[in-house]
Amino acid sequence: MDHLYNPLKLSVYRSLFRDKSVLILGGGAVGSHEAEYAVKMGFGRVDILDFDTFTLENAAKHSALVRTPEDVGRNKAQCVSDRLLPLLDEGGATNGIDADLCLIGPEAVAAYDFAVLCLDNFAAKMLFNELWLQIPRERRPIVIMDGTHDEMAQSVMLDGEEFCLRCLVDESWLEASAVRTSCSGPQVRRIDGEDAIVRTSNLASSLAAILSAEQLRAAVLGAPDAMNRRLTYTAYPHLELSAAHPMKKRGCPGCSIEPPHDIRFLPGSVLDVTLGEAFRAIAAALGTKAFELAVHRLSYKNIVYSGYIAEAVCPSCGKPVAVKKHEGRAFHSDLFCGECRAAKRPPQERTAHEEGRVLRAFTPGACGELLGETLFSLGYPLGAHLEVIERNGALDFLDEGKIRTTVFAFEGDAEKMHTVRSL
């Protein structure tokens, strides 16, 4: 195949980008620009992840890759990826995944050399921080986080050695961390106790993407002193571009996250492997069937979801309801029986609500009805770390030295990130 572009008119170092991959989280105002720059720089793989859809009201901010009005209503990640196809140079590839961040795990992030966060809320950024820091240091991608604030654009590049993403965030911002705070349209933000609409222009969003792209380029080229720097562009009152070296936050909860000492890989992918198949593979790897597989732990918006709701008690009529969903993927309406949900009956007042049957771990002997379910449907994200616990005769955790935990992951999860269209 001939080159799409005339090599004589391109940068001399363009070939350095060919074997590099980048995951862009968020395909909106900043993410669509970022994807365009990454492909034009010559990255061999540009994947985008976003659960949101394009709307007409934000059309003034997206990259011109996104067509108006044809692309209104399309998933942002899939749409941007499709629009990148004609720009791909020889050997280049792209994929757009319609999914939110809760559906991917550390090994999905580890499949890339770079990850660029074009996200508009701190809850998602902190969740990404958890995933990223669970990856062993030698396989961690370089992360670039950008954002806008009014007409200011900012981008930080970090390798996790000096500080983490949480160090860059004021803890008070995390109180309402899911409120969209950045660059995708008029958003309401509380400033000094007052609700204020935050307005950001296309210029600020595209500048944030340019700053990130510049840092991406510096990382690939190995530019000295580029790592762990924050670039800030301010439009008013003075045009200014500054660079700073952020500091580690004292007592940062994010920095205390440590990756597992050892990760053992199994064939297949979380999307395809059933619980029964996983049990067989783990038993073969450990040489025993006496183990339990901990239910996936999702830490999102200051809540840790670590249970699998097998059965609930309808808060309205008290009947048992087969929910069969991970806590992090279940909605309040899922806990009602079909009849009460259809009639929109309220929960009973003056009555305590029973929890139902919530599993904290799956065991080979006790989960017969779930053995045919895929791990993904049981709540494990694509690229999950699976915690397997061997009690070795211990009564409980007080019997120290007996309990052994082994972390497993699936070899095929990284490849799935390049092919799956939605989760």
Binding site: S299, N302, R360, F397
Partner: protein
């Protein structure tokens, strides 16, 4: 992997707190050790059971005192008994994650705060206020039918509400003096100080005329 939550401190400021798995184990170990010192073993026995999958600690708490139980979800006639047992389990994430408590399905406490399935209602879990100690405290008091802990406003089993209220009004509940359940404080008092002997003051000289 860490567990995090937002809690409101004593000054009313909400703060985010994150704990690691080892922090969770340490908190559970401390509370277990404190629990073992809290009750009088003559009336309250606590034993460790085999933890089920996903559990970190599984305890059986037995109160050796008059109590009442129900035998199935359909029965409404409490049966008297001389002891009552409840099981309590804690999982990773404690104390940010709540503990759970339940009675055997065929012998569960006759209380407005125990579901007909045998599960005990342990109220809303408030991190750093609720703990294994506070939950066991409530369960132990409930097992002697102490109306102080009974929440009639959030009923788990309304069929025993009238029965419970009637017996509380007749002062039949609690079934024993609650303070007897607690361990005797064995910390010795410091030795009594003997009063120093103060010599009598010298007599005043005779009054001059």
């Amino acid at each position: 992997m860490s567990f995090s939550t937002t809690y409101v401190d004593e000054t009313g400021r909400s703060r985010e707190v994150s704990i690691s798995d080892s922090d969770s184990h340490e908190a559970l170990r401390n509370d277990y050790n404190a629990l073992m010192k809290t009750y009088n073993p003559k009336y309250v026995t606590i034993e460790r059971l085999q933890a089920a999958p996903g559990e970190e600690l599984h305890l059986r708490v037995t109160v050796h005192a008059p109590s009442h139980y129900l035998t199935s979800s359909n029965t409404t006639n409490p049966q008297p008994c001389s002891s009552m047992s409840v099981e309590v389990a804690a999982c990773l994430g404690y104390p940010l994650k709540s503990v759970s408590a339940w009675y055997p399905k065929d012998r569960f406490l006759a209380s407005p705060n125990v579901f007909r399935s045998g599960k005990a209602c342990i109220d809303r879990w408030i991190p750093f206020k609720s703990s294994l100690l506070t939950v066991v405290e409530k369960l132990v008091m409930d097992m002697i039918h102490n109306p102080v802990v009974t929440r009639y406003d959030s009923m788990a089993n309304s069929s025993v509400e009238d029965w419970h209220k009637k017996n509380a009004a007749k002062h039949l509940f609690p079934t024993m003096e609650p303070k007897l359940l607690y361990a005797v404080n064995l910390t010795p008092l410091p030795p009594r100080r003997t009063a120093a002997v103060v010599p009598a003051p010298q007599p005043l000289p005779p009054r001059r005329r």
